[in-house]
Amino acid sequence: MKKELLLGDEAIAQGAIDGGLSGIYAYPGTPSTEIMEYVQGSTQAIEKNIHRQWSANEKTAMESAIGMSYAGKRTMVCFKHVGLNVAADPFINASITGVNGGLVVVSADDPSMHSSQNEQDSRFYAKFAMIPILEPSNQQEAYDMAYTAFELSERLNVPVMIRITTRMAHSRSGVATKPAKSENGLQLPNNPRQFVLLPAIARKNYKLLLGNQANMEAISEESSFNQYFDAPNKKLGIIATGISYNYLMECYPERNCPHPILKISHYPLPRKKVEQIYHDCDQILVLEDGYPIIEEMLKGYINTTKPIKGRLDLTIPRDGELDPNIVAKALGIKTEEGTPMPEEVKQRPPALCQGCGHRDVYEDLNEAMVEYGAGRVFADIGCYTLGALAPFNAINSCVDMGASITMAKGAADAGLIPAVAVIGDSTFTHSGMTGLLDAVIENTPITVIISDNSTTGMTGGQHSAATGRIEQICTGLGVDPKHIRVMIPLKKNHEENVAIMKEEIAYQGVSVIIPRRECIQTFARRKRTEKKEN
């Protein structure tokens, strides 16, 4: 049987395509970006005309997916864990509306924060919404889950979450694919009020959701993704979720773990299986690549249970991702270690590319801000976040998408004037526009620098919703056109750009400065493609 070498992300994308997908909605975010990119590049998806455009942000993506589900078709929405924060309002309410066409939400978490602000665990959200989670332990499972998740969603009338972590998303392995299913046809919901969450209707829907929980549990109990492996040594029972099952198996290459194992890849927790392992064993070790969610559920707050070992008692480090060494240590298995890293090896922190426009922006801004001192520049998520590091040391905040503008406003409201925001073009249309509107309404004296490289850069150069629209958006929001200044961030323009920045920073009202120069990476790629075509 021919297997394809697919990343976890790609396996999910292919599974969805084969599972009858009609549309996929997403905003770029590591480690989820490759799911949409795979669909965009898939011949199958192109032939089927599967809808596959990037959305302005995760909330619009989630809502569009709900709309497609309303119309009867199967749809998937993908983001990284913090992207789910942005999508949370429609996400939670989608479990109250229920679905029509199957709706699958893929959330890709980043334990150890390889490229994120935090390591929050998306399983909380699914528990909050009271919907099932599928958490694959390998790439084949990731494919199989995406292949069957639409049916599960339609059967239970709720969205279904697929939850992965970085090491699954960005790891490649052989996957056997299945025959492609056909898409659903266009069909309105049977109940025309299903999606109208007026309180009277929402209350009824909510009772249905609550009543459905037992059904979800029963399906979990029967799911082939959850497996109980009995074994003779009951001194310890091990519960392993998702990818942590792999690390556990790495400790027992002959597949001869002496302790019972409960592999969990389908939530809600299969209650009977959990009761069995708890009943049979003296103590339980819980392995989760994320927060100690199951561990806490089982443990009890006031020490009323058998010993439950995991992150909370530091058998496993409280934070960070799991790996085979951490799991071996937790099991008391002795492992080899190579020699320590020699002192000659130095850090190579990521830096802005040589020739990047953001470099010029920061050099200009630093000079313009000299007279005011440090601590007044608010930024957020993008390549430009690297301006926090040497040699620029130019920015003082990075909290979440769009927060540059709103934090600058809040700081100015407190009296910190001038306050400057640095935001990227894609982040601006993602969630900067509403903050700018707030500032315009109050004429808050902030300077917003929209560093426009006409791309979503940090995630690999995806299309930016802002391209060609920024000035119009700003005037549309009410920014005085006299205080919208466009510039080209190049060394030869340094003096002129610094002078413009100084002017606008001194201005006691809303200013928008747009340093515009195409990202050198997308520029280079574009030139290479053009050269090939000619």
Binding site: L5, H170, S173, G338, P342
Partner: protein, 194 residues
């Protein structure tokens, strides 16, 4: 049989192409494979690594445990040393000697060479020079793959087929240059072993 390989380098140096060639070869031999990647550093000058695991049995962890790697294959000398905690006692380091110096405190090349020579099993070569001779300096990553190939326990012919698969779309000339690079790398190690 199993081979656990850590591929190391700086973003943009082509370690994922090395992984792709080995991947094609492994699939063609019906071997199991897991390969984990780091995304996003390629543009930004950061260190990149890939854990590549080949086996005739099912593979569990995507990550190689500490002290288990059979091979560290590095296209950059300082990066070769970064993953020593993963190298097994019997493991080999195969590294390019051309430094990628994009930081303020890059160590002296003499210190790096000293460290590399101290390793129990290592092969160090100027892959950039060998690649240039083979026809293109940018094929230095493929030279490194050739140099490491005796330690990869997969037939050399299947690696050559992997080259053909990976570079086929770019035309016969590109395929030929990369095949030359692969063979030149292997020749270096075979001569060294004698």
């Amino acid at each position: 049989m199993k081979t656990d390989i850590i591929l190391a380098g700086v973003g943009g140096q082509g370690i994922l192409s090395i992984a792709a060639v080995i991947g094609h070869a492994a699939v063609s031999k019906n071997l199991y494979l897991k390969q984990s990647e780091v995304h996003g550093m390629s543009q930004r000058g950061g260190d990149v690594q890939s854990h590549l695991r080949i086996s005739d049995k099912q593979i569990a962890s995507d990550l190689i445990p500490l002290g288990s790697a059979d091979l560290i294959l590095s296209v950059e000398p300082m990066e070769a040393l970064r993953y020593l905690p993963y190298l097994s006692g019997q493991g080999t380091v195969v590294t390019n000697l051309t430094p990628f110096n994009n930081i303020n405190d890059y160590p002296s090349i003499d210190d790096l060479n000293k460290r590399i020579k101290q390793l129990p099993h290592s092969i160090a070569l100027d892959a950039d020079a060998i690649a240039k001779q083979a026809g293109n300096a940018r094929a230095s990553n493929i030279v490194m793959l050739g140099a490491a190939s005796p330690y990869i326990h997969i037939s050399f012919e299947s690696l050559e087929d992997g080259i053909r698969q990976l570079f086929g779309k770019k035309g016969t000339e590109v395929v030929e240059v990369n095949l030359q690079a692969l063979r030149a790398g292997r020749a270096y190690t075979e001569a060294y072993q004698k």
